[in-house]
């Protein structure tokens, strides 16, 4: 099963997503990157219906890029979130809706604040201090209620993330083995090894 988490910290957003691609009972790949880098300070973790996910993520990626080319500056996180939400909401009442759930993490270089958005395939958008999608949310949200600190350093944030991943490995029957973790802060995006 697909699992993704995200949380904010002092001046950064942390995103983690599993790296497995599954077809029925078979793990087809174990090194898939499900976190797209939409712009220099914007990350998007996506999950949901295979096919829809990559198609929609690339559609978003290219439109965000197009905006940046046209205007010479990228969309800030709140605006990007609104645009993506609208795409999903319009898709929902179309003939063939996308089933894609998203976590959007970004750093606003104008206000120097991190932003994290939880979004689902219905077009539900909400800004949150921490979030999760998939079965992992049933384990991680309670842990994050207890341990999340919006003023935490990157090291502290990663330690909390570790707790979430460990709990999922311990308690979820079909837990994924590997995760990709990315951080966005004032310096841009970077991947971290846990």
């Amino acid at each position: 099963m697909e699992v993704s988490f995200a949380m904010t910290g002092k001046g950064y957003v942390l995103l983690a997503a599993d790296t497995t691609a599954v077809h029925s009972i078979i793990k087809v790949k174990t090194d898939v990157d499900k976190i797209k880098e939409l712009s220099p300070h914007l990350l998007m973790a996506y999950s949901g219906e295979p096919g829809d996910t990559v198609q929609f993520a690339e559609y978003v990626e290219r439109n965000i890029r197009l905006y940046q080319i046209r205007h010479t500056y990228p969309l800030r996180p709140p605006s990007a979130a609104s645009w993506i939400r609208r795409s999903l909401a319009e898709s929902l009442r179309s003939r063939n809706p996308y089933s894609v759930n998203l976590l959007l993490g970004g750093y606003d270089t104008s206000t120097y604040t991190p932003h994290l958005y939880w979004m689902d395939y219905l077009g539900t958008l909400v800004e949150v201090p921490f979030a999760a999608h998939g079965y992992g949310s049933y384990f991680a949200l309670s842990l994050l209620d207890r341990y999340h600190d919006p003023e935490a350093t990157v090291e502290e944030g990663l330690a909390v993330l570790r707790r979430c991943l460990d709990e999922v490995s311990k308690r979820l029957v079909v837990s994924p083995g590997k995760y990709k973790v990315k951080i966005v802060d004032k310096d841009g995006i970077r991947e971290v090894e846990l």
Partner: protein
């Protein structure tokens, strides 16, 4: 489980003496799993007019944007602010436009309506998800805790409450109703609107009851 209950949430509006109040909870969930405790469902339309949009969270945002657009167009064309009565009709027609594929929202409207004499009269209204208007004289409710809100409001509300007392009445009604509803709660927000354009707003994980109006 119906779509109207999918995300949870409740809104209530009440009439007072030369004032109105509108209040909601702050929960957003996916069925029984709570996602956020800071999802606002009440939005300003003008300085004297607010709308609450309980129902499917996706449509909360969609309709909020839709209403903002239509009110802006109205303001530009008419060169004046929209009045509550006209806005209620706008809400109704916007929803009825989608009669056979509706937005899953039951809006609640509260504001101060300009009278011919130039003063302001309290105005509240609510509609169902296809825009059937209900102009009530006392209070209107909507959302997953609507039955409970009706019960408590019927017991606590009385005519001609001053702003401070109306705040206490609407807060107690909302808080006690959402405490018996699994899909609502996780904080609340109250807006009190008076004729002097003063909007008093109180938000917190839980409103401190009995302490009067916080600003």
């Amino acid at each position: 489980m119906s779509i109207m209950q999918y995300n949870g949430g409740s809104v209530i509006a009440m009439v007072g003496k030369d004032c109105v109040a509108i209040a909601s909870d702050l929960r957003l969930g996916v069925q029984s799993l709570s996602i956020s405790s800071n999802f606002e469902k009440i939005f300003p339309v003008t300085d004297r007019l607010y709308i609450g949009l309980p129902g499917l969270a996706s449509d909360v945002t969609t309709l909020r944007e839709q209403f903002r657009y239509r009110v802006n167009m109205y303001t530009i064309k008419e060169e004046r602010e929209i009045e509550p009565q006209a806005f209620a009709q706008l809400v109704s027609s916007t929803l009825y436009e989608k009669r056979f594929g509706p937005y899953f929202i039951e809006p609640v409207i509260a504001g101060m309506q300009k009278t011919p004499s130039g003063s302001y009269a309290p105005f509240i209204a609510a509609t169902d998800l296809i825009g059937c208007l209900n102009f009530a004289k006392d209070f209107v409710v909507a959302g997953t805790a609507s039955e409970k809100l009706f019960g408590v409001a019927e017991g606590l509300w009385e005519p001609d409450l001053e702003a401070e007392d109306l705040f206490e009445t609407i807060s107690q009604t909302l808080l006690n109703a959402v405490d018996r509803d699994a899909f609502s709660g996780w904080g609340a927000i109250v807006h009190v609107i008076t004729k002097d354009k003063i909007v008093i707003l109180s938000s917190s994980a839980f409103i401190s009851p009995g302490l009067g109006l916080a600003s």
